[in-house]
Amino acid sequence: MTLRTSKQVGEWINRNKKISFKFEGEQFTAFEGDTISSALWAADQKVLGRSFKYHRPRGVLSLANHDVNVLMTDGIDTNIRADVVEVKDGMVLTAVNTTGGVKKDKSSYIDSISPLLPVGFYYKAFHTPRRFFPFWEKVIRNAAGLGIVNFDYPRILKRKQHSHCDVLVIGAGPTGLTAAYEAAQAGLEVTLVDENRQVGGSLTYDRGGETAASKQLNDLLIKVANQSNIKMLTGTYAAGYYPDHLIPVVSEGGINKVRAKTVIVASGAFEQPPVFRYNDLPGVMLGSAAQRLIYRYGVKPFNNGIVVTANDYGYRVALDLLEAGTKVVAVVDLRKGTNTCGAAITLAKRGIKIYAGYCVYEALASSDKSSVRGAVLCEYDNIANVALTKNKLTLECDGIAMSAGWAPAGALLYQAGTGMQFDNSVQQFVPSRLPAGIFAAGKVNGIFDLEQRLQDGKRAANEALRYLGLEAPQITVARPVGQPSDLSCPSHPYPMVPHDKGKNFVDFDEDIQIKDFVNAAKEGFDNIELMKRFTTVGMGPSQGKHSNMNAIRILARIRDLPVEKIGTTTSRPFFHPTPIGHLGGRGFHAHRLTSLHDWHQANGAVFTDIGAWKRAAYYPTNGQTKEQAIQTEAMAVRTAAGIIDGSSFGKIEVHGPDAAEFLERFFTGSYKTQKVGRCRYVMLLDDSGVIADDGIASRLADDLFYLSIGTSNAAAVYREMQRSQQMWQLDIGLVNVTGAFGAINIAGPVARTILSALTDLDLSYESFPISSVRESHVAGVEARLIRVAFVSDVGYELHIPMAHVPHVWNALLEAGKQHGLRPFGSDTQRLLRLEMGHPMPGVDTDGLTNPFEIGADWAIEMNKPYFIGQRSLQILAKRPLRKQLVPFVLAENFKGEMPMDCNLVVDGRAILGRVTSIAYSKFINRCIGFAYVSPAKTAVGSTFEIRTDSGTLVKATVAAAPFIQNQKGA
């Protein structure tokens, strides 16, 4: 049977385009533009999902993504929100979280044992005896969860863009459209977003059986369309508010991070379900859902319906139902008195029975509990808010539409820090204190009358204009003042009908009934936040859109307090759950390459990440292991020569007359006495005396030092130098040349021989000794040559413009070919410097190491007036050392389990320290390393024990560094 109506004005479906799809094994047809739910509903398919906890059959509730009754999977995607997702040809869908299908869900037995599952039941049981908990845990975990994740789902890159506008209007209902139009009229750049596929908001469905709304919408749209400065984004929701008016708006295609000068929130209101027994049966739906079905999708919600209401909207819904061909059995109004609104009069004229002062006491389920067969009506006591069950009457029907009130869609307002106050007259939280540049209008502002909403949109636009310094008249739009009992009040103060047998649902996501709140309060969870956590109300995927307001009303009633004393729970992003793929987006992974990267790649380098840099770690040849490759490269440096790409080193120039003074304050050593052409060690401490980094300062002129420092901290060190200079205001200039200069280190006994073929510089050890610097040419390229003994006694760091590095590198390789020169990587460098006895910050030190602990007293000039960390060192110098770094060797021909970096140095139960570096040196045929040991036992020849991964104790002996003796070289 089809529930499809005749064509509706402004409907969203294309009746010329038929679509077929499968749901739970059955074939269905739909029209293009249908959502999955509307298509199924049109086919009289009413059980569309099962509830999270009790596995109760569920159908359409809001049809607006304010509930998750209907979550589906197509085997690729999970938790598809079928109410709002357009159906596509060929879709094969099933409901999530069922055992054996949505119709005959075997897990529905849980519904019948629900008395065993009181609120917070999982806190109360399953934990004793302890050994059974894992069993129960598994049962519970498997029962929980919604859809099944598809591990083959592809990584989808969604675009994340930034955009900027004067006014962002959230919600393109009548209010938002008006606000956007007015702001645009004043020449502002407006972005208008609406989560629906089409704009118009309530004008697209709330018609009260007439076509006026549709015409009004058309008129508004024409006005808006003529404004080229309005950017209209449909199918796009504002996901959250972040400081300084940053609002990510999310659509199928990606995220647009809108930075707006002002924001107008015209997001409307969520219709709230009145609460009565079996209000969750398929066929019981919100009035606005019924209207959406009719006017957007041309679907009749049901054949014989009851409207239960507590405001004027219910009467309009009844007229819309009639328009769709539904027989309206009765309108049941919780409120007493004769309603005189236009819709009520029309209904009365059309002979529709109106039960004023009545409630639906319970909906009656069909035998298979999957649909409505009737409703039991009672008189309703509007003061005690109970059903007067003396005179029950039963009406037959196959559906119930509910319109009892609203809750503001105020998530973004809350997130922006808006003060919200409960307005008794409209029975709604409304903004009372708006943050700068944020405005609210329409239903979210407690304005419900259509003409007033249009005015309110204009008012908000004018306020935005004035906020931006433009002139605009002040408009006042007043909320109605009166009693909640007034028939004009849009929301009923307590649309709740208690029932002995319960199953009167407040939160449909989590299957929470009235008694769950009562019982939670009874157990002491009578604060809204505690109640939320204990009952889990509002914690499901729809985040309380249809449940929070009723929960607040119930708690207020339990505690006998006015609603405003209860307050609301904190609103957090996101307004709708937002896909990880959207939020993650393209995912930039910035990295830096030296100009030799292609060469390294072509020569089989294995790369390692150091900060943002990709560095060649080693170059395995002929199937070598890492260890073999490192040993081969190291042996080349020891017996012939090697070159390494050091382009990632930090390189900083300090210019100016005060350059030496600057270095003296910044680093631990002394630099004023340093001669031009000489190099000195630099060590940087923090204020607490902890080692931050080290490097080499080469004096190129009286007023120019060239610093080279480690790769990973280079940016941070330069930054700290800039900060110090801001404070000290010395006559210097800092130039960071890290990326502009590359560096090559050629080292090993024949390094000088090789290099001498490429430069005219006198490389004799006498005129170019260790720790000196020269400016010259290498292979025809300007270069700074620094004689360093970091990896070998004979070593030259060549600092050259980055673009010239490949040329020099190739020239060196060519010149070194006959001498056995080969490249080595940063891992090999680790071994080489270890052989040379150089500790490395970050490897042989940690976040608390001070210079005394690594025996670096020699690098500190305590007699200077000041350097960073000096005062702390004075204090530390008075304190006993807690540990000390020593070079060590393992026994000759050690054959046992090799200790690793970070194995501990132990003495029985005491941890004395740890190994910070250890390696086998092929050159000296010994295992060597650095370790922290007890300061009492640091003399060369002292022994200590290292415990390996497997627990074996290995004896180590304190040695003298360097481990290799002065290699003169050729």
Binding site: Y242, P243, D244, L246, D687, S688, R719, Q722, R723, Q726, M727, Q729, N736, Y866, Q870, R871, S872, Q874, I875, K878
Partner: protein, 96 residues
């Protein structure tokens, strides 16, 4: 993302900046006691309120001072250290 105004480069999203900690004047290290120095090095005025802070605009390498309330996260003004200006706008104007 929050916005912050660099006195040299104007208003930018916070991702362009690096927080440099509270701006603090230490005691005279030549005259203070060890305990005073230890307190300066380790202790912080952690209670919420208006703070003078170091911020670094990364793309331009600019250190500056921001006066920020650590409770509300509102920045009242930003300026270059030592720049003798009484409001943040002065520096911004200069950068235009």
């Amino acid at each position: 993302m929050k916005l912050l105004t660099c006195p040299m480069n104007g208003t930018r999203p916070l991702s362009e900046f690096i927080f440099g900690g509270e701006y603090r004047e230490g005691p005279d290290q030549n005259t203070c006691t060890d305990a005073e120095w230890a307190a300066f090095v380790h202790n912080r005025s952690g209670a919420p309120g208006d703070k003078k802070e170091w911020w670094y605009h990364s793309p331009s390498g600019t250190w500056f001072i921001a006066e920020r309330n650590t409770l509300t996260d509102k920045v009242s003004r930003t300026y270059l250290l030592g720049a003798n200006n009484n409001n943040s706008n002065t520096a911004q104007e200069a950068s235009k």
